[in-house]
């Protein structure tokens, strides 16, 4: 089984027209072509490389990681003498990916990376997450390397990045017992050791995913007497240097193959990444945005797995003399699951492309910033709902441990919590709501759809699709007007009022529905099968906005 080739949507987004610009930016207008044996000379060649390697990712996900997932979930990692050993299946997954050269795929070629853009990296993450979300967290943490590549000194890069490409595992050590969502409260102390010429870390980190990794990026308080985020710096700690023990592995509800650890640092030697005091306000924020996209990818991988489990079961399970997928009540569930998966996926790859384009455009960077919380919020919430619906389709059998859907249900739960809860994604979206950035982006989608409708060729079969698309556009315009009215009503007491704060989640969700409706509508011009999923979000957006306005009008 190949989790890339059996899912046409992935190739669809890998071959998105905008990838030409994305690749040109990532390849710096093909500066390495002819200089490095792996560097492409055109967008077409680059995408063909992604396609070829994605095939390999899909094969490993389908043939190794997915078959291991259940056993890994049962066995989990073990802690002995302060060291974590992965479940045997996790080790096999890692070995397969290392052997295949699939570590550090986003890193520069000079470090033996593949120099992949984010749009391709998150696709690999989605494929791996479909096989096992818990394992995807371990693999996905190699994204930490991007922070070193972007902000670290040349010496740091030369020392650590080649190791990551060879398979060194990573962790992102942020959370502490009293510093979860509020990272400004981090207390782990970093002091400079003049004699040794390095920093020393002392303190405790908690809930650290893959906590016994080879390399750690640690947020620590470097400025004595400081109490807020401006006193925090970022450090890289090499496990091989000692000074850190794993005190415990958390006993979790899901993603059980991924060791979540409590760490004790005692005079652990570390090196600073970038400049002092910028740890939280610059580097972690950058890392976190990448991680949120990563969780979006994990969520969509899980949605895809849930859809397929549900579709397969509904096709084979017979009741009242028919497979249950012939009953409207079940069809409704399956269609909703598929639409949500399609919508979140379209939004994920749109956002990833903007992240890639950010390297050469401030405007793209601003769009990436507003779309990222929408991806994290929508995809992770959809993953939870898809997992719920998957069990519902299975009926009583889904409640039993024999089917994969119960593992999906448990694994999904963390997605709307880690790397920023859904509530924090709403906080991240508020600025774009208040300054009209989302509306501006929606207007650009609206203009593109209108333009494509005007340019679409007429014809008998095309006419029906055109009419359907025109209808979608009309309703999305109506929903956007409704959103504006909803916003006005919510801010009637000002944009710092409790009334507005209460409405922000709903406003964000309406925006997400409108954006996904437009994106799928645009996709439908390249492949008509996305029209149906677009129609789902068209209905969702108008329904949501109507309900919220009615609620405000009546209370």
């Amino acid at each position: 089984m190949n989790f890339y080739t059996d899912n046409e949507s992935l190739s669809f987004y890998l071959h998105h027209p905008e990838m030409e610009r994305v690749v040109a930016v990532k390849e710096k207008d093909y500066a390495e072509a002819g200089q490095h044996p792996e560097a492409p000379a055109s967008a077409e060649e680059a995408v063909s490389q992604y396609d070829m390697v994605m095939n390999l990712v899909g094969e490993i996900a389908g043939e190794v990681i997915a078959p291991n997932a259940e056993q890994v979930d049962h066995e989990g990692p073990k802690l002995e003498n302060g060291r974590v050993s992965y479940a045997p299946g996790t080790r096999r997954n890692l070995d397969a990916l290392i052997q295949a050269g699939l570590y550090g795929i986003s890193l520069d070629r000079k470090y033996n990376g593949l120099n992949w853009p984010r749009a391709a990296v998150v696709m690999a993450a989605e494929i791996i997450a479909r096989a096992d979300v818990g394992f995807a967290t371990i693999w996905g943490l190699t994204d930490c390397a991007d922070t070193i590549q972007e902000f670290g000194s040349d010496a740091l890069k030369d020392k650590y990045l080649p190791r990551i490409c060879q398979g060194a595992t990573c962790s992102m050590d942020l959370t502490e017992p009293d510093a979860g969502s509020d990272l400004q409260s981090v207390r782990l102390k970093a002091t400079y050791d003049e004699a040794a010429g390095c920093w020393r870390l002392n303190g405790v980190k908690r809930f650290i995913t893959n906590g016994d990794a080879d390399l750690h990026l640690v947020l620590a308080r470097s400025e004595e007497g400081s109490t807020d985020g401006r006193g925090l710096s970022y450090f890289v700690f090499d496990r091989a240097d000692g000074g850190m023990v794993v005190r415990r592995i958390e006993n979790k509800m899901g993603i059980k193959g991924s060791p979540t650890c409590e760490l004790q640092f005692t005079n652990a030697p570390a090196q600073i990444v970038g400049e002092r005091r910028l740890g939280l306000i610059k580097y972690v924020m950058s890392l976190m945005n990448g991680a949120r996209l990563g969780v979006g990818a994990q969520s969509i991988g899980l949605c895809e797995a849930a859809c397929r489990e549900a579709e397969a079961y509904a096709a084979s399970r017979e009741q009242f003399g028919h497979p249950i997928n012939q009953f409207v009540a079940v069809q409704d569930i399956l269609a909703r699951m598929r639409a949500r998966t399609d919508g979140a996926r379209s939004l994920l790859y749109e956002t990833a492309r903007y992240v890639d384009l950010s390297a050469s455009s401030r405007a793209a960077s601003r769009v990436a910033d507003i779309l990222t919380p929408l991806v994290k919020l929508s995809a992770s919430e959809f993953a939870n709902r898809c997992a719920y619906d998957c069990i519902q389709v299975h009926g009583g059998s889904g409640f039993m441990k024999e089917y994969a859907c119960e593992r999906l249900y448990r694994d999904a739960r963390i997605l709307s919590i880690y790397e920023g809860t859904s509530q924090l994604q709403v906080v991240a979206a508020v600025k774009g709501i208040a300054n009209g950035a989302y509306l501006k982006q929606i207007e650009s989608y609206e203009a593109r759809v209108a333009e494509m409708l005007a340019a679409a060729p007429a014809g008998e079969s095309a006419d029906a699709d055109l009419a359907a698309r025109q209808h979608c556009l009309d309703v999305l315009r109506k929903a956007t007007e409704g959103y504006k009215r909803f916003y006005e009503m919510a801010t009637v007491e000002g944009s710092t009022s409790k009334r507005f704060e209460h409405a922000t989640r709903a406003l964000t969700e309406v925006l997400a529905s409108i954006v996904m409706g437009y994106l799928l509508l645009l996709d439908s011009f390249r492949d008509a099968r996305y029209l149906k999923s677009s129609q789902y979000f068209v209905r969702e957006s108008i329904g949501q906005v109507t309900r919220h306005i009615a609620a405000l009008e009546n209370c």
């Binding site: 044996p37 792996e38 490389q49 070829m52 390697v53 390999l56 094969e59 490993i60 078959p67 056993q71 397969a96 052997q99 295949a100 050269g101 699939l102 795929i105 033996n112 593949l114």
Partner: protein, 266 residues
């Protein structure tokens, strides 16, 4: 002098993915309707060759196959997994070969490579199940053979030690080089292709070798050189004759599920 390894490989129809149109009305295989794969036991042989190369970094692995130009796919695959080189014996004069003619063509091609230390191949191909080609190549090259190999235990410039399957157990055999080894499905799975190799090698063509290049007697090639005549092909429907007793434990059930999934039954 470098240590030279040859792997014999075959591109075969993927019998695990058989669709409704896989058989023609006359009972013959409809090859056009079947996807092709690297013969599974040949992949295991490739892995054993790469394990030798892991231990002897100056070793070279050359993969040899005979078939239509499309068989270049498995040479590319082998290179992506770590083989250094490979070529396809592809010529209309090779067509219709039975095991005798195939082993003759392969052995002549290997002779052209000069001194070869180790030849590895799968025990048999899933489309023919004869298990004759490997041993016949060894006979034609007049070198010893070790069949049913499951594990490489040791190798040096002079000898190789192999664990091989017997009817009721295994034995360890130490053989002097050069030797031909056939590998069973119990051997280690082949490593995955490497992304960097895939990209670097994607533009390199695979060499096609014709019958004129292997110093062969033309009468011993292809249909002409094949005494085997197929009298009849029939469909065989397997019946439930064998049974397996399972302990009612979770471990036994997990093992059964894993086996059924691996065999593509589930």
């Amino acid at each position: 002098m470098s240590f030279k390894i040859v792997v014999l490989a075959k591109q075969v129809p993927d019998t695990h993915n058989v669709g409704a149109d896989a058989m023609n009305a006359d009972g013959t295989v409809n090859r056009a309707a079947l996807p092709t794969v690297f013969n599974p036991e040949d992949l295991k042989a490739l892995e054993m060759a790469l394990q030798v190369k892991d231990q002897m970094p100056d070793a070279t692995v050359t993969v040899v196959t005979m078939g239509p130009p499309r068989a270049a796919e498995i040479i590319k695959d082998a290179r992506n997994r770590g083989a250094d080189d490979g070529f396809v014996l592809s010529d209309a004069r090779f067509a219709g070969a039975d095991t005798l003619a195939t082993s003759y063509a392969l052995s002549q091609a290997i002779r052209q490579l000069g001194k070869v230390d180790l030849i590895l191949g799968g025990r048999q191909a899933i489309d023919g199940d004869t298990a004759q080609v490997g041993p016949q190549v060894a006979e034609k090259l007049d070198i010893p053979q070790v069949t049913y190999a499951e594990e490489l235990l040791a190798v040096d410039a002079e000898t190789i030690t192999i664990r091989r399957r017997l009817e009721r157990g295994t034995e360890c055999v130490k053989a002097k080089l050069p030797v031909l080894v056939t590998v069973t499905s119990a051997a280690a799975d082949c490593r995955f292709p490497n992304a960097h190799r895939m990209i670097r090698l994607s533009k390199e063509e695979v060499r096609m070798i014709n019958a004129d290049s292997i110093d062969a007697e033309m009468d011993r090639l292809g249909l002409k050189g094949s005494p085997t005549k197929v009298k009849q092909i029939e469909n065989v429907v397997l019946s439930h004759k064998e049974s397996v007793v399972l302990e009612p434990t979770e471990a036994a059930l997990s093992e059964l599920s894993a086996t059924l999934i691996k065999e593509h039954i589930l």
